[in-house]
């Protein structure tokens, strides 16, 4: 992890190959807004689907509508636990692990090298998995051979 400035060698099957470049080394606010847009649109679409379903259920009568409305908060809690709670944690862990691998690996992107000093302090503190340091040093040893 010390020789970040040496010219990068491209490997064929790196885990960060498919990550968009601006996610790893782009401006933060525009990238976040661009990443948030599809998910926001999906949430709006899901809301309209719920409204349409409630409209269809209303044809079945008051009892069916009341029963579905009774279950709805529990269902919503489960969905938000999977999507927002644990899903947000998974997205964060995957993103931080990819950033760590991308900054530890010499790649063809020169932007990452300028990105590295700014990110090195938080990423060493917020390392998502404790095994990362050893796995990356093993990776680097393999890379040097």
């Amino acid at each position: 992890m010390t020789d970040m400035s040496r010219p990068g060698s491209t490997t064929g099957s790196s885990p960060v190959r498919d990550v968009p470049q601006d996610v790893l080394a782009g401006p933060i606010i525009p990238t976040m807004l661009r990443l948030a847009l599809p998910t926001t649109v999906v949430l709006v679409v899901q809301t309209f689907v719920g409204v349409a379903e409630t409209y269809f259920i209303s044809f079945l009568g008051t009892d069916a509508l009341a029963g579905v409305t009774l279950v709805f908060p529990v269902l919503m809690l489960m969905q938000m636990m999977s999507n927002g709670g644990i899903g947000g944690g998974i997205a964060s862990a995957v993103a931080r692990a990819l950033a760590l691998v991308a900054t530890a690996m010499p790649t063809r992107w020169s932007g990452i090298r300028s990105f590295w000093p700014a990110f090195s302090a938080p990423s060493s503190r917020l390392r998502p998995f404790s095994a990362d340091r050893s796995s990356i040093s093993r990776w680097e040893q393999r890379e040097r051979l």
Partner: protein, 65 residues
């Protein structure tokens, strides 16, 4: 939760059916979160959008019989 009679029956039937699908819901949510974390936000959005489209088309037939 204060429900009686036909409302309770409808709620129990609906929750039995809808929570039977909770495992696919969790799998979809966790896999799409992993994709979002990897910077690919379009594939989960597309999958959920197609699911919503199928749901809108099918739900009148399924709900109203």
């Amino acid at each position: 939760m204060g429900a009686k009679g036909a409302t309770l029956t409808a709620a129990l039937t609906y929750s039995g059916i809808v929570f039977a699908g909770s495992i696919p819901i969790w799998i979809t949510a966790l896999l799409s979160s992993a994709l979002r974390g990897a910077g690919n936000v379009n594939v989960p959005a597309l999958v959920i959008f197609l699911g919503a489209l199928i749901l809108i088309l099918l739900s009148p037939a399924v709900i109203l019989g």
